[in-house]
Amino acid sequence: MQTVLSTIIISVFLCSCRDRYNRYVPTYFDGEQFVERQDSLTPQHKEGIKKVFAFYGVPFRTDSNSVYYRGTIEKELLLNYSKKAMDKDWLATHMFILTQTSCAGHSQQQAFKTLDFGTFTIVVPDSWRKSTAQGIDSYVSNIIIDSSDTLSFDLGHFSNPLSERDPIIFQGKTSRIVDIPTVLI
């Protein structure tokens, strides 16, 4: 009986920790330890961290002075978020995905599931399904999205690095451009 009660109490405690909002404090590394600096939460940093949280799907809310995130985040990850919040290049390059993933409100009503491939898991819309494929010296498989789109993965030593070749530009009297980008090396 005591064991059951203890389990329930621990579960309730863990749930409450997971759902609790914690105040975000900019985190840095001074070479020896993590340092929290509330005074670094400038309006610019605040806007940045909101975008970072949105990008990584971290539930958050704000008030006039602070930003709060739900659950617990390790110091190392907070350091990563703090750096990105002030990284103009990162924010600029990730705005595309951020707007792409947040603009369509109907997707929030969509059901999702986790596909487990053994070596990795991925959360996808409920309608996507696994399909098998045969690899020679690596683990390959497919995710069928619908009748026209399929994803494929390759886990091994020779996975495609998804690099795009530079196009070759010929210059001269009869200048022309050979477009190669359809070929990925």
Binding site: T121, S148, G156
Partner: protein, 86 residues
């Protein structure tokens, strides 16, 4: 032509955008088409872990995806979690 202008000229003929991010704590290369529906959308991780045969890499991608599927896929990439199996 200087290097900057040459790089800029070459860049305008490319079909993919490229960004670097982390997926499950690993450095990941994410590509997506500049024009939705034409090109490759995917993620590549150069080093998942090391086995006795060498480095394991990972690539997951789709080609010429519909814009809505591309959007959902880019969202899904962020949820990938790896687990090493023997």
């Amino acid at each position: 032509m200087d290097d900057y202008r040459q790089a800029k000229e070459l860049d305008q003929y490319k079909k993919q955008n490229l960004l670097w991010d982390s997926v499950d704590g690993r450095e990941a290369k994410i590509v997506y088409p500049r024009k939705s529906g034409i090109g490759i959308t995917g993620v590549y991780i150069d080093s998942l872990w090391t086995t006795k045969f060498g480095k394991d890499r990972f690539e997951l991608s789709g080609e010429n995806m519909k814009p809505e599927n591309q959007r959902l896929f880019l969202q899904a990439i962020k949820t990938i979690k790896f687990k090493k199996t023997e």
